[in-house]
């Protein structure tokens, strides 16, 4: 820490030739580093990456945000059950619609007042442009521009297509950001009515931070919007987000104090930094997310449920926890009682039992098995140890496995083909409901995330019941039902619920875990 401070101290000495380059007060600037930066400032843009969500989240307002609660470790955690005002001061929820009262003093960064017209333009854009944003809006039954009505300048109504308990939470996620429609319409063209091109590198936002400088691939610098009214004014005045491709360097920068915060390192680094206690390391289990082993039930021998169950008992769970993820995860195996509640993720009843695995394999009558285990090379840090450990373990019960490393760029394409017999993969859903997870991963609609090509009418029925059931007892029964079925049929073997790890300087407080797994600068404080 000393050397870094000394360097900036020296730079802050007044020099006769220096023009405006004096160091900003270190306490008011947050230096964040990561491997990749935002590839767009437009959340609704094509192929916007994860860091782009972080950018959008901090520079735009949404109608509502989520409240906060404490997690079991005492850290701040967004509360998905509690919606809080942001751009909307209050709202009136009726069975067929919800009416928002927008605050009257909100202005965009260019000074124009925020009105309901802007909200409608932004929402129309979100459901029209296609790709991921439209898909996410649809998850909450937000599908048609006709649903969005600007009643007057400060009143905005959303009409529901159907009763969907996910509609309100869906209005608080990253996608329905409120964009300055005046600027947008100015730069729209006939071929590009939503100004998608202009928005790639420009922004017309009104959130707590504005973009001071954006060099894609290198850095992005934010400055606080001192006129922000949609929430308490953030403490940090300036955020510099730099791209540092080498993970060893990211760690060195943090440990020397030249960077403040980073969530982009290997589990091993976080485990070691947490043990060393010089930096603050916060690990939060990622909601509704699981790392799992998937078996394609249409590809023999994985169409045989006994084979699948045998493999479930052959997985070296503990070794994977230690060697792949250094215990920076919640184990999701070895439950004493199967499907005991309606929480998700929850532990499966499987544990490492080679004898049981051999027995089940013999009972299955499958004979000698030789198969291919595939994983996403883009996430090799975690996937590779898992692959090697599983290869060893399966060999013990007589299954020969060869390893197929799929380059990151190809992984999604390969998943879509649904040809891979045995894989490891991870999936997490933004909306923290078990039926949401199961809808994408186990439902017979065979979405891309149902990597096992699993189809079961019984499962579909239980999922549909849970999605639309309003009675609490019946809902719980449905959830327990589909979880138990997932264990009985076991097309997918859960391994663990990964942590979202963040490392920061000890003087930084206020970190809050968000469902988008990126940083929200508005709550952070330095020193």
């Amino acid at each position: 820490m000393k050397a870094g401070a000394a360097a900036t101290g020296a730079a802050a000495l007044p020099m006769p030739f220096v023009r405006g380059a004096a160091a900003q007060a270190r306490n008011e600037t947050l230096v964040a580093i990561s491997e990749n930066g935002p590839n767009s400032l437009d959340i609704m843009g094509v192929g916007a990456n994860r860091p782009a969500y972080e950018a959008s989240w901090n520079i735009h307002d949404r109608l509502m945000t989520y409240g906060v609660k404490k997690d079991p470790n005492g850290n701040d955690h967004y509360d998905y059950a509690k919606l809080a005002p942001e751009l909307a001061e209050s709202w009136d929820l009726k069975p067929g619609s919800v009416t928002f009262k927008l605050r009257r003093d909100a202005k965009f960064h260019d000074g124009t007042p925020v009105t309901a017209k802007d909200v409608k333009w932004s929402f129309d854009r979100a459901v029209t442009v296609g790709g991921f944003p439209t898909f996410q809006m649809k998850a909450g039954s937000l599908e048609k521009p006709e649903q969005f009505v600007a009643v007057d300048d400060h009143t905005f109504r959303v009409d529901f297509l159907r009763a969907d308990k996910l509609t309100m939470p869906d209005l608080g996620v990253v996608v329905p950001a409120v964009i300055n429609s005046g600027a947008g319409k100015k730069h729209a063209t006939e071929k590009d009515p939503w100004a998608m091109d202009w928005y790639k590198t420009n922004h017309a936002s009104g959130g707590a931070y504005k973009v001071a400088r954006f060099t894609p691939g290198t850095e992005i610098v934010y400055e606080r919007n001192d006129a922000w009214k949609s929430g308490p004014l953030p403490s940090i005045k300036r955020v510099v987000w730099r791209i540092v491709p080498s993970s060893g360097n990211r760690r060195a920068l943090l440990e020397r104090g030249d960077a403040d915060i980073c969530l982009d390192m290997a589990s091993k680094d976080f485990a070691e930094m947490a043990a060393a206690k010089k930096l603050k390391v916060i690990g939060t289990p990622v909601e509704n997310a699981l790392q799992y082993i998937g078996m394609n039930v249409t590809k023999p021998p994985f169409d045989n449920v006994k084979v699948r169950r045998a493999i479930a008992y052959a997985i070296p769970y503990e070794k994977i926890m230690q060697q792949a993820v250094f215990n920076r995860a919640e184990p999701m195996f070895g439950a004493a009682e199967s499907a005991m509640n309606a929480n998700w993720p929850q532990k499966s009843p499987f544990k490492t039992d080679i004898a049981m695995a051999k027995k089940l394999l013999a009972e299955s009558g499958a004979g000698d098995i030789s198969t291919v285990f595939s994983f996403d090379l883009g996430l090799a840090g975690v996937n590779e140890p898992i692959a090697i450990l599983i290869q060893e373990s399966l060999a013990q019960i007589g299954i020969k496995t060869s390893i197929n490393k799929v380059p990151g760029a190809n992984w999604r394409g390969e998943l879509l083909k649904k040809e891979m017999p045995l894989i490891t993969n991870t999936f997490g859903g933004w909306l923290n409901y078990p039926e949401y997870f199961f809808f994408w991963c186990y439902h017979g609609q065979n979405a891309v995330f149902n990597t096992m090509s699993y189809k079961s009418p019984a499962m579909d029925k239980l999922i549909e019941t849970a999605r639309f059931e309003t009675d609490a007892a019946k809902y719980e029964a449905a959830v327990k039902g589909f979880v138990q079925l997932a264990w009985d049929d076991v097309p997918r073997i859960p391994l663990y619920q990964p942590y979202l790890d963040v490392a920061m300087q000890p003087g930084i407080s206020g970190y809050r875990y968000w469902f988008h797994r990126q940083l929200d600068y508005r709550q952070l404080k330095k020193g």
């Binding site: 993970s247 060893g248 091993k268 680094d269 070691e272 090379l377 140890p385 090697i388």
Partner: protein
């Protein structure tokens, strides 16, 4: 033969560094030939003690999955030498022949070969290697092919330049008068006389081939783990340096450096031996 050996002994005795390089090279050859059979542990087998520092049990320590680094370093010699020899053979063979043909015959030879060389040279060489391996898949064959292709122009260019200069020399004219055909002149007069400069290049290319493979591994386009290859061991181990586990990258890095070092010094020594102007 006797005088050649005597000459070799003279050169070696004269130059201690060259002698040292020859000694190292001999040692490496032995390691490459029998290495995989004499190592204490299986280079590909995971072990129960990951990240163990060097000890009496594991001389070079273990890596993140418990593999013995000493065994892997010795076993890797075979693969790295194979890559080096194969790439150099390809580049040297094709490049030298093409270059002297272009330099000596001129005309269409020079034009076509010149264009080929220029096309390859117009690419940033490492990026071309990256591109070839990325497009064709990272197998050892493709790595050798890519390395051979990107080194072809160096040989061709230098060979052409030298042949261009030499073709007007007196002894060439004399050979023509003596009735030697053009091709015979090419192989018996031109080729030996450009060898000193070419041989220097060979040593560098062998070293570069190994370093190229290491660079490709760093960006994920090298050989696939768990193959034991110096470059990928260094690039994997580089992530552990900051955490204090220096041995994972240091030992393969050291051996890699020694090997490349030895190739480079070897080239100098060979040149001293072959250069006719240094013979007394």
């Amino acid at each position: 033969m006797k005088s050649a050996l005597a000459h070799a002994r003279y050169v070696l005795g004269d130059n201690v560094v060259t002698a040292f390089a020859f000694g190292m090279f001999a040692l490496f050859l032995v390691m490459a030939a029998v290495g995989p059979w004499i190592v204490p542990y299986d280079p590909l087998a995971n072990g129960p003690n990951p990240l163990e520092p060097p000890s009496s049990r594991h001389w070079f320590g273990t890596d993140q999955t418990g593999r013995d680094i000493f065994s892997r370093v010795v076993a890797a010699t075979q693969l790295d030498f194979a890559i080096a020899f194969a790439s150099v053979a390809l580049a040297f063979g094709a490049g030298t022949l093409a270059g002297i043909a272009a330099g000596f015959f001129g005309g269409w030879w020079e034009r076509i070969i010149g264009r080929m060389v220029d096309t390859i040279m117009a690419f940033p060489l490492f990026v071309l290697a990256m591109g070839i391996v990325a497009a064709m898949g990272n197998t050892i064959f493709n790595i050798v092919l890519a390395t051979g292709i990107i080194n072809f122009p160096i040989y061709a260019r230098v060979a052409r330049a030298e042949a261009n200069v030499i073709r007007n020399a007196g002894y060439i004219e004399a050979a023509r008068i003596a009735g030697y055909g053009e091709t015979r002149i090419l192989f018996t007069q031109i080729l030996p006389n450009i060898m000193p400069i070419m041989v220097v290049q060979i040593s560098l290319t062998m070293g570069y081939a190994i370093l190229n493979a290491a660079g490709l591994s760093f960006i994920g386009l090298g050989v696939r783990p768990p193959t034991a290859e110096w470059g990928i061991m260094v690039s994997d181990g580089a992530n552990f340096i900051q955490n204090g586990q220096w041995w994972i990258a240091a030992f393969p890095g050291l051996v890699l450096m020694l090997a490349v070092f030895c190739f480079n010094l070897l080239g100098d020594g060979l040149r001293d031996m072959i250069d006719p102007r240094r013979r007394t």
